[in-house]
Symmetry: C2
Subunit: 239 residues, 2 copies
DNA sequence: CGCATCCTTGACTCCCCTCAACAGCTGTGG
DNA sequence: CCACAGCTGTTGAGGGGAGTCAAGGATGCG
C-alpha cells in the first residue's frame, strides 16, 4: 500500500508505464523500521542491497576529522540510499536516519535485473539520480550565495515540493532538531535557532514545539528566491 | 591523439575493455575550439548533442537574480558537459568555458547507441556521473565546514588529482582568475585574493603572475584535510 | 599610448561562530 | 511523588572571518 511511494515519485520522470509500476511495487514488499539517529550504511562499506526509504527522513552525511557532521543530502520517502553501489566500490559517505524510518531492502541482483531488462525503469532510476545531482547543485548555490535566513527558507521550500511530489506535506513531517537543520545548512545550531526565530517573527513560519509549519508560502518563495525548476517535477503527473 | 583523454579518464572506473576504448575514440573525432568566457549551453536549453571537454577548463554555473554567479562544478579535460540531456528535458544550469577550450560534439543518437548497446561503456558513463556527484558532495562539505583558506587548498588538491588522472598537471593549467576561484568557493574576489596571499605566505603555493604552482603538496594535503577517496580513482589503471 | 581587465591593499561593517548559562520537556528510578 | 539526568531549545556577550566599498597598482592588448 505505502510502497507505491516509489512509483509515485518516479512517475515525475515521465518514463514509467503501468506494468513498470507493478514490477516496482512487487519489488518493494518487505519493509522494516529503523529508529531515529541510526546509521544505515557507513562510509567505506559496500552494501549488498539497495535501500529505499518508505517513511521518515534519512540523510547522507560526512564526518570531519574533528567530529563535526556535514549533511549533504536529505532522503525523503521514495528516495534511494545507495543506487551507486553496483558501480562505485565503496561508499564515500555515510547514511543515517534522522527520524524513525521505514526501509525496504532490494537485493543488488534485483536492481541489476531491473536496470538491464526494463529500459523504462532504467531511465527512471537515471532520472532520479540526476535529480539528486540537481538538488546537490542547488544546495551548493544555497550555501555559497544566500544568507542563512534565505537559505533556511529555501530548504523549507524544497522540502515542501519534494514531499508534495510523493503526496506528503511539510506539516505532517519534519520533527528535525535545530542541530540537524544546522548541519544541513552548514551553520551553528545556535544560529539556526536565531534564524528560525527570525522567520517566525517575519510571519513566514510558526513553530509549534518542535514542529515547523509554513504559514505564508507565497512570501516564503519570494523571500528565498525559490525556483522549483531544478527539481524537474513537471514532466509526469500532477506537480 | 588528444581525444584519448576520455578513455584515459573512464578507465579509472574499471569497466572499459580495449575495443570499448577504440569505439570511444572513434566517436570523438571532430573537435573545435571555444574562446574563454564563452557559454556552451544556457539554462533552459535542450541541446541536441552531448559535449565533451578535451582541453581547457569549463564550468557549470548558475546566476542569481542579482547577477552573482555561483560555479557549481569544474569541467576538466575528459568531462562531459551534459550527459543528462536525454533524461532531463531542460538544463537547470548553464555551462561556460573559463579558459579556451577544445570541445567535441557527440550527437545524441550516438550517445543513446553507446548506452544501449555497449554495457561496459554504459557503466563507465554511469561511473563518471556518480563521481561528479561525489565531487558535488565534497564541495558542499568544503563550503559548509571549512574555513576559506582550507577550502581553497582543498580545491587545489582536488584539481591536482583530477588532472593527474588524465595525465595533466596543475602547473600546466589553471590560469583561473581570482574572481573565478571566488565564485567556485562562494567567497568574494577580494577575500579570495587574501586567501591566496596567505597560502603563499605559508609557503604552500607560489604565484607566478596569474599562474598558481603548488610548492609543498604534502603540507597542502594535511592543511586541507584532503582525502582523495571521493574521487574513486583507484579502481582502474595508475592512480 | 590608452583602455580594459585583473590583482592588491585598506578601512569599516556585519554575519555568524564560540562559549556559556539557563529554561523546558521527557523518561527513569528511588 | 519528587529528584535527577539528558536532550533540545533559547538567550546573551564577545570575537573573528568574510563582505562591501573604494582606490591605487599591474599587466596585457589593440
Amino acid at each position: 500500500m505505502m510502497a507505491e511511494i516509489l512509483t509515485r515519485k518516479l512517475k515525475h520522470g515521465g518514463f514509467l508505464a503501468e506494468d513498470d509500476c507493478d514490477r516496482l511495487t512487487a519489488v518493494t514488499k518487505e519493509a522494516y523500521y529503523l529508529g531515529p539517529r541510526t546509521d544505515v550504511i557507513r562510509q567505506g562499506e559496500s552494501p549488498d542491497a539497495v535501500r529505499l526509504v518508505i517513511e521518515g527522513i534519512a540523510c547522507r552525511y560526512k564526518l570531519m576529522p574533528d567530529g563535526r557532521r556535514a549533511i549533504v543530502a536529505l532522503l525523503l520517502p521514495g528516495d534511494f540510499c545507495d543506487l551507486h553501489i553496483s558501480i562505485l566500490k565503496r561508499m564515500d559517505h555515510s547514511i543515517g536516519t534522522l527520524t524513525q524510518c521505514k526501509i525496504v531492502d532490494i537485493p543488488r541482483s534485483t536492481v541489476d535485473d531491473l536496470l538491464e531488462n526494463y529500459p523504462r525503469i532504467q531511465r527512471s532510476l537515471w532520472w532520479a539520480t540526476l535529480v539528486d545531482e540537481a538538488i546537490l547543485r542547488e544546495w551548493l548555490v544555497n550555501m555559497g550565495k544566500r544568507r542563512s535566513d534565505r537559505q533556511m527558507a529555501h530548504l523549507l521550500c524544497e522540502m515542501h515540493f519534494r514531499l508534495k511530489a510523493v503526496g506528503l506535506s511539510l506539516g505532517s513531517m519534519l520533527p528535525l532538531t535545530q542541530e540537524e537543520l544546522a548541519d544541513i545548512l552548514g551553520i551553528s545550531h545556535v544560529h539556526a535557532q536565531r534564524v528560525m526565530a527570525s522567520l517566525r517573527d517575519a510571519g513566514l513560519v510558526s513553530l509549534q514545539g518542535r514542529r515547523i509549519v509554513v504559514t505564508d508560502f507565497k512570501r516564503m518563495i519570494e523571500f528565498s528566491e525559490f525556483d522549483p525548476d531544478y527539481l524537474h517535477l513537471d514532466e509526469g503527473s500532477t506537480s
